[in-house]
Subunit: 198 residues, 2 copies
DNA sequence: AGAATCATACCGACCGGTCGGTATTAATTA
DNA sequence: TAATTAATACCGACCGGTCGGTATGATTCT
């Protein structure tokens, strides 16, 4: 049957995600993954051609997860600032439960910087997000809810802020309520910090 | 003499930095470092007790470099927004020449997430920067050049944005003029994106 | 001379991946 | 339905090779 097979496959994936995020990709041995998954090494290499293949599958799975998360956000027909704020708090709430996901994203980045395969898999959705935000901002400018800023630049700032907060969540466990933290941060970006002239 | 000794030490450090940033910490072997430095393994372990010690020395060296960079910025007595903008463009210009430094920062982060020693060495300056920015913002609020925002929050946003841009510079080689990119991004954060109600 | 500096040879642990073989399940046949 | 065959899922010992680190000898300085 396929049931058992699929189960062990998932076991391997889950165990690998756990270990990669805790110990790191390089430092995690295939044997450890097999151990944690309660699976033999043979089974591992029956399901995946290599350790990297597991890694790539995790990467793609996570990325498509984010994608679908954004997709759901689109139907709402508020004005652009509200949409962005909503997305921020959604992403923020993702952080909350993502004590396994976040470190592995860091792992993705690091690996991407060394391996062209991982790089391509990571850069594509990154560009997608950026151009998506750019068009969103453009739309906001058109509808008059946003200032006539450089949309590309603003999109980069948005993504940068998100990424930066992601990194921060790894190193600052003190903030627990990322939901509001993300929202407030985005509000700050929207409204600006400097005192308005006049 | 100490000259020769110090020279080989630096050779090792430089070679290690190069390789760590290109290949990654784990994937880089001590033998490779020695090769690239034109030094024997014996010399390596004469100067450093372990591979990690080299890594830590690089980390501390870089961090103190940033520190001193910020230190220099302080004497200028403009108002706070101008100081922040100036810091931004300074940091941005750092990005420019930092094709070796940036990847190694990523390496630092990743290692810090796995190794408590690295973590402590990395988190301390991080907190320093954050509290420094917080007090700077507080000062700006006091002098009336900034809105009465939550200084801690704004500081986190500032740092997040910087970190995010740093990550972005790794993956978006298209932007070449990080000097102005950083400045414009910071201006955007200062002025806000949303159209003012007025 | 003798201490500091560097080179060479080497060790044991470990790693990703392979392979021959076994158990389990699905498909086929009668 | 029961028996037989074929295919798939899984096992775990094992291999070549690499790694960080050490021991020891050569060389260079003061």
């Amino acid at each position: 049957m396929q049931h058992r097979s699929e189960e062990t496959r998932n076991h391997i994936l889950e165990a690998a995600a756990q270990l990669f995020s805790k110990t790191g990709y390089d430092a995690t041995g295939v044997a450890e993954i097999c151990d944690a998954a309660g699976v033999s090494k043979g089974a591992f290499y029956h399901h995946f051609p290599s350790k990297q293949a597991v890694f790539m599958e995790l990467l793609n799975s996570y990325l498509s997860g984010i994608d679908s998360g954004f997709q759901m956000m689109r139907q709402e027909d508020n004005n652009v600032p509200q949409i962005i704020l909503k997305m921020a708090s959604l992403v923020g709430s993702l952080f909350q439960t993502a004590d396994i996901h976040l470190p592995i994203f860091l792992e993705f980045w690091t690996q991407a910087n060394h391996d062209p395969h991982v790089w391509e898999a990571a850069i594509a959705p990154y560009r997608r997000y950026q151009s998506y935000f750019a068009s969103l901002i453009q739309e906001g400018i058109a509808e008059g809810s946003l200032q006539p800023v450089d949309a590309q630049l603003a999109a980069r700032v948005l993504v940068s802020l998100a990424v930066g907060m992601l990194m921060q969540s790894l190193f600052d466990p003190q903030i627990t309520d990322w939901h509001t933290e993300a929202r407030q941060s985005m509000e700050l970006l929207m409204n600006g910090i400097a005192r308005r002239k006049e």
